[in-house]
């Protein structure tokens, strides 16, 4: 199963992006290009990464050379130019977590998911972050965050359960989506 995010690549979605750009043109005609970073955020939030198509679209709409947009998008670590998994696993490698064995937990995630730190699984369910410094929950060390969920006092033996939990969640989401699509199709036939 290849996890795919909700189908966003629709004419309506791009229209929404164009409306944002249009507002910028109206409100700040002299500094349209300052919208670049907010727009990249908007795209990143929607797709989980910034696709090439979006870079070209934004470059054209703002009048910023495509190469410059690539320069900006690749500079900030927040933006990803590669597709990301449904869930991002961040194992805290801050001092407190590290001394309580966080590296072994990160290694275990990588081993079980068969990816390098920073990589994304081939089914696109997980991305294992390679750069999580202190998450600010040292009392719970070692800490693992999966998107916005905090998993406290994790030991290597927990990794399999955590992975299974989120895999099941992704599968349920995909199934629900399929069922919705089937229901839509039926209502169209009727």
């Amino acid at each position: 199963m290849l996890y795919e995010r909700e189908a966003l690549d629709t004419p309506e979605w791009w229209q929404g992006l164009d409306e944002m750009i249009e507002r910028q043109h109206e409100q700040y005609p002299e500094s349209v290009q300052t919208a670049l970073i907010p727009l990249l955020h908007y795209v990143q939030n929607a797709f989980g990464y910034v696709p090439e198509k979006a870079i070209n679209h934004i470059a054209q709409a703002l009048g910023v050379p495509t190469a410059y947009v690539c320069g900006v998008a690749s500079f900030y670590s927040y933006f990803s130019l590669e597709p990301k998994g449904a869930f991002t696993i961040s194992v805290c490698l801050g001092t407190a977590c590290f001394v309580r064995g966080a590296q072994a937990i990160l290694d275990e995630f990588c081993r079980q998911l068969d990816v390098e730190a920073g990589g994304t699984t081939s089914d696109r369910i997980f991305t294992v972050s390679d750069s999580s410094r202190c998450l600010g929950a040292c009392g719970q060390a070692p800490v693992v965050m999966i998107d916005d969920d905090v998993h406290a006092k994790v030991v290597a033996q927990d990794v399999a359960d955590i992975v299974a939990e989120y895999e099941a969640r992704a599968r349920r989401e995909m199934q629900a989506r399929e069922e919705r699509a089937r229901a839509d199709a039926r209502s169209h036939v009727q």
Binding site: E52, V64, A67, Y68, C70, G71, S77
Partner: protein, 591 residues
Amino acid sequence: MSDITLTINGFEVTVPEGSTIMEAADEASIHIPRLCYHPNLSIQGSCRVCVVEVEGMPNLVASCCFEAADGMVVRTNTPEVLHLRRDIVELLIDNHPEDCNTCPRDANCELQRLARNMGIRERVFAGERKRHDEDVSSPALIRNPEKCVLCGRCVRACGEVQEAACLSQVNRGYETVVMPAHDASFNETVCIGCGQCAMVCPTAAFVEQDATRDFIDALDDPDTVVVVQTAPAVRAALGEEFGFDPGVAWQGKMFAALRRLGVDGVFDTNFAADLTIMEEAAEFVKRFTEGGTLPLVTSCCPGWIKYAEHFHPEFLEHLSTARSPMSMMGSVIKTAWAENTSTDPKRIYSVAIMPCTAKKFEATREELFLGDLPIIDGVLTTRELAWVLKHMGIDFASLPEEQPDSPLGTATGAAAIFGASGGVTEAALRTAYWMAFDEDLPEDAIAFEQVRGMEGLRFADVPFGEDTLRIAVAHGLGAANRILEGVESGEMEVDFIEVMACPGGCIGGGGQPYAREGEVPLDENRLKLRAQSLYGLDEEAELRCSHHNPDIQKVYEEYFGEPNSEKAHEILHTYYYPRVPPGIRPQEAQV
């Protein structure tokens, strides 16, 4: 603005307020080493090679971007400064391939010069080194990020001078690479092939595609008929490759040298420049008198043509349909000349020596082919010709002066000045006048001083019978954009626009000799001297109007009929088409 006085290395120097420390030091004849700095480009201040000590400052400062102040005390050569500066260059070298001996910029590399002059004799920091593949996809240029020192001069030249903005620094820190959008193959980008990146690059991160090997192989093949043409601007700079100062046109020795390589035809692109003028002037007079699309824009420059196709697709009908001189010559060689000499065009290896890297791309344009047959088989830059001559043991300095072969070598003074910005306009005006009024311009009105010069943008009103021709001349594509924007908005009314992509025109082309030690790439004085040498050829020439060229008259009598005839259109003209990706011009308020 008032003046300020500061002390540099114990010497007082007075400069205008607002000058940087580097400018003040230059004024005081103190050369601070530099790398990312270029006088024609914006200040980046990233390489830190130009650091100096300023009394009262806790750290060293980069002199290229630090403003000088009244009473400031600067030291540029204390042991600490020298040591740190050397460390900075050592770190650059540590992250650079150790293959100077086989590098195309060997002995002409700014990084190498910096290291040598700083006395760097060993690699001190032996750390991890970046690894990247070469991109050889473009017919014009090779991009080799492994040689890149991230000075960003190419990025700025491409964005600020040419406004193509094909390049950007992508990623961050150790991962930073200069690349086009999406790391696309160079032939799939908005790169126009002008080669200004190679011109300003201190190392070999950008170099031209090598055409010398195929040329040498062709020379050796007894079944191949090798013919060579040389662009107007090549003769203005070729001598520099052999240690001569600019200011002299070396065409006599150049023709002699080519003959000694054993080529079968020594032709001159200048002949085709005269032919271009016949076609382009006829096209202009027709459009001007019969009310066609104006302004007419010149089409000699392959960088400009590709730029227009990416960035100004709505403007393409303004371009003259006349092929460039190189392509006209290529077409004539494989049609009229081949017929005349009973040579099978397939056996001809047609070589063009150009001051230009974009011509390598132009030669691959299939719309110019004769069926499947390219009209130009190899394009060598001025630099490459010099390498071949040295390689083949031609002693350039002691060669006699010789003439090119006839008929494809005869040319007028009007053709010689094609190599300098404004030259095409001047040549076209001389012949357009004759075409429109059936008489020549008076001898004292033949030189159009008002279109000559080094300003990026020049305008001239030229009397034309009872009318006035409004002329605009641009070199550097940023300058060209200013004209096109003016025309589009209706603020500017012009009849004729000359555009050359490179600074100064072809004399500053991306294939011309690199800057020598102590010189800045694209130094304006150097360009002026090169232009002077071409204007000198024009002044000395017996014939100074393209339509006076007897061989041009003959080729029309025997082959083409008259300018813009059906046959001329078939062989000497072309068409243009919008290209993807569409170009986006950088604007002033950049992020």
